[in-house]
Symmetry: C2
Subunit: 463 residues, 2 copies
Amino acid sequence: VQTGGFSFWLVFTWYKRCMPPEKIAKIEPRLLKGFRDYLPEDAVPLRTMIGKIEEVFRLFGFQPMETPALEYADLLVGKYGPEADKLMYRFVDHGARHVALRYDHTVPLARVMAMNQNMPLPFKRYVVAPVWRADKPQRGRLREFYQCDIDIVGSRETMADAECLAVGYHMLTRLGVKQFSLQINHRAILDGLVQAAGVAVNQVGGVFHAIDKFPKYGEESFVRDTAALGLTEKQTEQLLRLITLSGKPESILEKLSASLEENKKAMAGVRELGSIVKHAHAMGVPDKFLNVDLKIVRGLDYYTGMVAETIIPDLPLYGSVFSGGRYDTLIGLFTGRDVPAVGISLGLGRLFDALEELKLLPEQKTVTQVMIALFEDSDAAAAEKIATTLRKEGIATEVFLGNVSKLDRQLKNADKRGIPWVVWQGPEEKKAGVFAAKHLPSHKQQQLAIEDLPTEIKKLITK
Amino acid sequence: VQTGGFSFWLVFTWYKRCMPPEKIAKIEPRLLKGFRDYLPEDAVPLRTMIGKIEEVFRLFGFQPMETPALEYADLLVGKYGPEADKLMYRFVDHGARHVALRYDHTVPLARVMAMNQNMPLPFKRYVVAPVWRADKPQRGRLREFYQCDIDIVGSRETMADAECLAVGYHMLTRLGVKQFSLQINHRAILDGLVQAAGVAVNQVGGVFHAIDKFPKYGEESFVRDTAALGLTEKQTEQLLRLITLSGKPESILEKLSASLEENKKAMAGVRELGSIVKHAHAMGVPDKFLNVDLKIVRGLDYYTGMVAETIIPDLPLYGSVFSGGRYDTLIGLFTGRDVPAVGISLGLGRLFDALEELKLLPEQKTVTQVMIALFEDSDAAAAEKIATTLRKEGIATEVFLGNVSKLDRQLKNADKRGIPWVVWQGPEEKKAGVFAAKHLPSHKQQQLAIEDLPTEIKKLITK
């Protein structure tokens, strides 16, 4: 009991019980592959970024809604495709239930809609929370990452599709990204396009997959893929002529109307995209940020109408920053009746890395605005009282909590942590009844009267 | 391909493959026991509450820091006690690694400190994120719950202990809780107390456990427990006389000094608690919110110094709203050298329920401030332009996204969702070049000129 207390003794005993003796000295601290910590220098700008994103979501009237990290596995499995099922974190819990960590926010949303069928529609929600995928870790793609989603449930209107694009536009603009492009397409156009080329029903999946691969692997790979599927050269040529179309909506939609005017399905898609573009303009999305690209398929998943991706031309390696589309049948799997929906999803880690490369992250490394340095232990109570006054004015204030040491060491500590202002009262200042205030980035120092401290500090900080 | 599109067909095929045929019609949506959704009516006040809590954390200079949900299991197991190990969600991942969902934020913090030993100390961090425990679900205690932690690493000063108490006080005050009590104790006092009563080393664990149970099961149970441990009646009496002390710090610490003045360890604890109380006062914690209670042990875990709990007298069934203490040896298990630390932890779900019972949650059910109702589909673009203008003024605005229907239905929809203002331009208003604006809670309606809409709406909202 004398050597460190009861709790240490207990921890130590348990610890000995579960580790081989040669390892007792120290636990080897390590992080799982594909996972990361956000230390304050990253967490501070991350939280600022999330704040701005949520602000835009809220301005458009999207409501926060949160679902658990764990779900019954059978609710998630089979909704994303066989590849995804392999990447899902699944296990059996203490009650012998088969559970899985959430893989995205869309399937949990469908479950919520089914369990709350009296919710007034249209329903607009947002969520900013991690999802887990046991993927091969790669640049900007971890096994745990924040996914930000907005979804509009219960509206078939093209206004709803447009709103998702508009939120994406205003969000990236709010974050300071100047150049980016919203690339849109429509599943009905893709359906019509393969129909018009006479692709057989059992070949459709393969052709969509080949189109999906096109932007990454190029035309030659596409031609090889379609040949392997048994398409004729003529069919492949016809597909190529259309899927390589990309550019301003007006011109592309016009070309499509000319080529596919016989195909009802495709024409419905063309009209919808046209209407979506018009509404997006009304919501403040400038023309130059919108493009139609017929190679956008959005993988093998649940989309049924518009599909969208975003690229930042300065960062071609990052792929789509946010993506989404309309999925009118997914929720029906849970509710038993069709409930239309459209949404976009943003990988926060990837966007964070992108903003870092574009030098658009705030440089602020700490939330603290002022640190009060101490000359003597006996100054602590007085400093705490002043800190309390500053906090009342909304100024984030620390009192130095280490061993009271030379002022220089305290200034260095504050500087290392990125705190902009340090104030203190040394023997001289005490005599004069003032405080010294130093702005560390500029090395400028000044004196402030005690009674003016809160208002003056506030002025200095907001300057 | 004709019936619903490629993606639906694919989803349907996978789905058929993994579910028995009689279940295909509809997936039974269900939530795991002990988990909950936060629908907007709860998520909106939850997020407001989190915002206020984070504001207080930041005012005291605590930095956000985030760690993964999953950790190597051996890092977590054995740190909380054998009971906790049983409640940990553990499984084997795709790479055959033994992993566990985080059980709290303290052990991950210790890992971070060990992996980043160049971090300038003292280090103050906060985190608001879920933890998982396969506990028996009970009132205010779910299997997934948000835990808010603050920790100060690298400071042995009693100022640091006091700061944790002060943050707790200011946080509850900021949330509107008027009556609560910070109950503090010190492990060294407990150590000294059992020492002074002549409790044998192998009985200490049992006695601490008996003290821990006292507030819940009462004196009789305590007497039974100590008898079972082999303590004499005299020993039990001596313990009882001291552990039942609780009240204002000055008076309790004085009594302890008189009873335990021979015991160095206990006296060190008494002096530390006295100093903590003094600093807490300097940080704005009024005297009446602080009490010393010698029955506070904080379970069988890693605390070594001050321990603290909080009770809200109006809600005795809720137990401690936030708790914590000093743990100077835990981080050393990871770093191999002693790193002192102190922190408090708050269960958000429990506090949320508590605030709800105290009627302290904001009644706002939605983030939306204004909905623009539509009379005709062709009004949509004009409405979207107005919405864009309102959003630029910081007003959270929706354009009605359902089928354009009677105004009454749209007003009802907005009312059901808790949106305070609805504006529209019907045929009459169009003629007059004005907008109608209705405040749903008061049923008051007025007319606004189009050009004044943003400024007038802003005035109406902030009124």
